[in-house]
Symmetry: C2
Subunit: 400 residues, 2 copies
């Protein structure tokens, strides 16, 4: 029945088994006897389901998926055997029966709240806990061919919306109206409904329509442009700002398909482009094209940033690059996958050597205080000898 | 400038001061010297802003709001003095300068991840930490007249969408298509963009279109009906299910205005209602009406549940009430405010005496495995001598 209601493939068994195998290798290296996975995204990554449960992976045994509700759904979604339980406490008894003791427990300490952490230590009777979130993030960094297929389908949703925007954006509309129409366009095309971002307070709408002044107010998130929102309670996304001629409208759209996120931005202009934005737009385009010319497996993310920055400097646009003042962000690209803030981060601050299968959003943007912003964001898959674009949407500015 | 871009009032100064005063009273009672508020919703509740920062409340001094980015925006949003900082570490120096030592620190341990908790203890140099999340939830339980005003505006968005659905839902459409259209309707009307739900893995779309079999599959969340979603990676909300005649389509819509959430459900039927759903629908309606007849300040939530349940029993519908099998939930109502899972919970498991200013969603629903579901959800404000409806949308089933 679920097959008929949903779109999107289940994660293949071999894929899940390989991920668990790789997790165990990392656990062994770190001296972790048992891992407890409870965050829904990690659970999906390792077990293929987001249903309420807990995955316990012993370093030297088979994974055990404990499920509290909804066994039918889990049975359909996961290829693993799973153990229905009534209460979390049952897990302790089952582990004892199986003689699994576990000296050191690995948990996702970057996302698990303190109260839950305390409860789980008590349930399992294990008090020596280490953080395995970095190990998990490392595993998730390289995308498999199956994952890249999902990302490309997510890119189709994004591409559709980016192309459709030409028929929607008009002078005099509010950002909010455009958001509503394009949001519906993406959803009809199969958008999963929302995007996930890892960590406390990490919230991300899947569409940002920004324009002129609304582009230029820093947000609470570590992103160059997030809009101001229609309320300070949310403080991101479209506002009541009205679209004016000659000033770029930025559409930053986050596709979502079968869990996988894409994230691209295009600039649209009603009329002709105001002089202020011409050079920065050309530089943004040059940065994207130059990067595509040289980046591939083996290149360091630092070098990508630095070569981009040298183009920015040559044009004298440093003050506006990736924000202004305190709103500046320290990166030009970020990893994408099941969450929108994955590795790698393309920044001068960390060294990261690109490997085949990494996927990242690359977003040279220029923000001019009070005046507006311009830029491009495209998603790349790292290949042996190139960067492959995720979507087929042209990067050029669109004139309306 | 922000004034022109946004809708929705800023939280008045007196209101924020009163909340801080009440927090201090709770801290005093619990023996907490200093509270650290970092979750964005609590920060919004106490300081009026969701911008990246940390609010420190000494039990016997003025609150200090530390802000890392975006001072301009915070200045507009909060009436409090705030302290711009470069790094979180600066906070420690400032506290020392002010001779604030703090023996016992209160933190939101229900949501703050372990890694952040460890970092903050070190930043502040305070290692004796207690959980103040229950105190905060208790404070947020009673809504002020200002908050109720926001909730009513949120209700206007909800009401608009519930009424509009009659013109949208048609035989042969997918749930997804209806979702896209009604989602856009709400957004255009000023929906804030997303809903917040407290806790790890707590995710909630703001619209659930469910129908027939998609109503009947339990979700990972503690909700009676969440839909199956178009992908198992999200597993909630609209699916590819096609609307058929005579079977209810449920529209569960979460309004959001200025942070405040409303949450109502109506049933729509293309054609005539299938016999199976007639009695349960009448009982759901009777439960809502009966509850409105007797509930008011002073009544226990337990009694509300029990009186509802006696109507269910009289009709012999126990097996279908609020889910079936393992998908059953143990409540008939839940609190609403800045998050969709606030207090009070209307359940036979806990005693809660209603007080004026509590706001809750009340949702008698019946789920028939494989066949579909029917029910009503309305939001109530508790008054001295009555329950006041939040929206003006009629509760009757809508025939199309």
């Amino acid at each position: 029945m679920l097959r008929n209601l949903s779109i999107g493939d289940l994660t293949p068994k071999e894929e899940l088994e390989k991920r668990i195998f790789n997790l165990k290798k990392k656990m062994e290296k770190k001296g972790v006897d048992l891992s407890l996975i409870i965050q829904n995204v990690d659970l999906f990554y390792f077990a293929g389901t987001v249903q309420k449960g807990a995955l316990i992976v012993p370093v030297d045994g088979d994974p055990m998926l404990f499920v509290e509700r909804n066994a039918d759904r889990v049975r359909y979604e996961t290829p693993f055997d799973f153990i229905p339980i009534k209460r979390e406490r049952d897990i302790r008894d089952i582990l004892r029966e199986r003689n699994i003791k576990g000296g050191t427990l690995g948990m996702e300490l970057d996302v698990v709240p303190v109260a839950l952490y305390e409860r789980w230590k008590e349930i399992l009777g294990i008090y020596n806990v280490v953080d395995i979130s970095n190990e998990i993030k490392d595993l998730r960094l390289i995308k498999s061919p199956f994952e890249i297929e999902q990302i490309k389908k997510s890119g189709e949703v994004t591409s559709h919306v980016l192309k459709k925007a030409k028929d929607v954006i008009r002078e005099g509309m509010t950002e909010l109206e455009i958001d509503a129409i394009l949001g519906a366009e993406g959803r009809k095309k199969g958008h999963q409904g929302f995007l996930r971002m890892r960590g406390l307070n990490q919230e991300m709408m899947n569409i940002y329509i920004t324009h002129e002044q609304s582009c230029t107010i820093p947000s609470s998130g570590d992103v160059p442009i997030a809009g101001v929102g229609i309320t300070h309670a949310i403080a991101q996304g479209a506002s009541m700002n009205i679209i004016k001629r000659n000033i770029p409208v930025l559409l930053d759209y986050g596709g979502g398909y079968n869990g996988y996120i894409t994230d691209e931005t295009r600039a649209y202009v009603v009329g002709v482009l105001d002089e202020l934005f011409k050079k920065p737009y050309e530089i943004a385009k040059e940065i994207v094209e130059t990067t595509m010319d040289f980046a591939q497996e083996g290149i360091n993310g630092k070098e990508i940033y630095e070569r981009a920055y040298s183009l920015v400097k040559k044009a004298g646009l440093e003050d506006y690059f990736m924000g202004h003042g305190k709103g500046k962000v320290g990166f030009i690209g970020h990893g994408l996958g099941l969450e929108i803030n994955e590795l790698p981060v393309i920044t001068p601050r960390h060294s990261v050597v690109l490997q085949e299968g990494m996927v990242f959003a690359f977003e040279p943007k220029f923000i001019f205080p009070g005046r507006g912003a311009v830029g491009i964001e495209v998603d790349f898959i790292v290949r042996k000898h190139s960067l492959e674009r995720v979507t087929d949407a042209p990067i050029d500015m669109v004139f309306i």
